[in-house]
Amino acid sequence: MIGLIPFFPLLGFLINGLGGKRISERMSGIIASVVVGLSFIVAITLFGEFLKIGTPLEQTLFTWIAVGKFTVSFSYVLDSLSLVMVLVITGVGLLIHIFSIGYMKGDPGIQRYFSYLNLFTFMMLTLVMSDNFLAMFLGWEGVGLCSYLLIGFWFEDPVKAAAGKKAFIVNRIGDFGFLLAMFLIFSRFGSLKFMDVLIPQQIAQIPIEIVTAITLLLFLGATGKSAQIPLHIWLPDAMAGPTPVSALIHAATMVTAGVYLIARCGILFAASEITMSVIAVIGILTAFFAATIALTETDIKKVLAYSTISQLGFMFAAVGVGAFAAGIFHLMTHAFFKGLLFLAAGSVIHGMSGEQNMLKMGGLKQKMPTTYWTMLAGVAAISGLPLLSGFFSKDEILWNVYSSQFGGNILFGIGLFTAAMTAFYMFRLFFMTFHGDRRWSKEVSPHESPKIMTIPLIMLAVLSVVGGFIGIPESWGGHNFFHQFLQKSTQDATGYITHQYSSGLLLSENILMILSIVAAIGGLLLAYRFYVQRPDIPGKISKSLSIAYKLVSGKYFIDELYGLLFVRPLRNGSELFLKKFDISVIDGIANGSGKVMLVLGNKLRRIQTGVMQNYAAVIFLGVISIIFYLYLK
């Protein structure tokens, strides 16, 4: 039964992949959606069963690798953690598949597109449902490959193909960490099964340095997949793919695999304080820096990309401080609202005939009402406006960052500030797109998207609005269903972490909540002022009034101040840190090491002269080296 969940998308992949052009455009979309839908139904059924039984469901399909005492079986397991993931993947995935039918209409490679999308779903499900590291790695590699294929889907464009390559290379760096960690785990624990490895008594016997090494290597894998500093560079470029792909892979599912990995191995991670601190700091820094970049980006998808990196940073901060449930909670709500935002952006791009630059949008509210309202829900949710899904999850993270021993005031402060920035840039995006002047050219005629695209939007919007209620904080007297549900999977890990919930804290959870509401609304208002009110005011003011008035009126002043004190240094700093760092260091390492390799390769090439005698001389040199070796021994 469990095996059916990944089986259906695999089936869909085979049908669409092998059928190729023989399957009509319409049919391939339907097949792809139906198989994911079936998986979703099975997942729901199993969810009910799980609630009844309360113990993880398992199914061993076959023994994969058996060498000596070491065996790895290919088995799927559904516990609360993987159930959440499976529901998100199949549920949000289904909506995105349906959306794609409308979005990709008329594309000549649509069968290929859907087959990749189904393969991706299969791989992602394998990733989250496998009961051992090796099968997880299969999914891990598989989703990377699909992501690569889908980013480069419109391969006629060399820039897009290059983006795919970048994503691929960066992911391989992460995979290196994962593989090595896996070998280390195998050599230390003698097994790769989660059940055998993730036992506190087992871990306690391993030297702490080894645990730290393993977890840091796993974290390296996670940073690669989840686009955290310093391996974040591929995600903005990955936006070259079709927008639904960005929604599914680069927002809702694949990029969260790193968070899932850490949550899954929570016990292991929690055993190493160093790793935990590193994760928390990297997470918050990523959240912060990515948000600053998003402040001034004008490409609608790029804003969302940086916002994704930033939100992933929040999730990492959460798992880094030991709040695994909070991290997964945010992962889930993020899947709702980021999936929604991307799809809505896709709808806008679709309506604008492929235009992605927000400077050429504006005033789309009347033209695309459904998109407008659904996107508003998404923007409000991600900004953390009260009672929406993002509010609960982000708030929980901030609270945990504040109260955990791995967190602290500074991290919390940065987090809160980032939350305010999030509200600002998201509403900026919203206002620039839907309000203000119509800045698009004559040829473009914006139109609302067809039903097949708007219905998924509406459903995701509903989820974004109400999705947070399954995790109402306990300080509200609520009954945090989500926490309790995940407890089974994460309690052992949290056992390691001594939360200082009660003593020595200045602020209570409710006060923090008010702070974050203030931050969110502050950001919203600021954005409103700049991008809805300002455009007509500055012109008048500067014409008729003196500089003094400008200062008093504050419009320009604030704007300038904002520019001077806030945006520019931050942006410069971030540019220095993210973009320049990208180019010089990470790209340097990725491309540079590639270049070094190529240069070395060209050097080696010269040895290969084609003259047999030189080869003989090299062989002879080898003989001499062996004689030397023997002589030295």
């Binding site: 290969q608 002269t609 084609g610 003259v611 003989a616 002879f620």
Partner: protein
């Protein structure tokens, strides 16, 4: 045995080195090939020495087999050289570098 074993081995080593020198120095494919024969003969000499020293016949049978190989290799080698010469009219090893990086 007429001389100490080590003298035979050193002689064989010297002969082998001269063979290697020929392979590394000469440009004419045929002479390179002759030098390889020299190397094989050096090996045979050592084998005979060892065989005599151990007083067992294995070494001499080995020499017999090496000679067979040498004959076979020479015939195939020369055939390849002939085929090459037909197409390229050269036996200079330096000119045989169509394939390189």
């Amino acid at each position: 045995m007429v001389v100490p074993l080590e003298h035979v081995i050193i002689l064989s080593g010297l002969l082998f080195s001269i063979g290697v020198m020929g392979v590394l120095f000469r440009r004419n494919v045929i002479i390179i090939f002759m030098s390889i024969e020299l190397m094989l003969n050096a090996v045979n000499l050592a084998l005979v020495g060892f065989s005599r020293y151990h007083n067992n016949v294995d070494g001499q049978v080995f020499v017999f087999l090496v000679m067979t190989l040498a004959a076979a290799e020479v015939s195939v080698g020369l055939a390849i050289i002939v085929a090459l010469f037909r197409n390229r009219q050269t036996v200079n090893i330096n000119e045989m570098n169509l394939m390189k990086n």
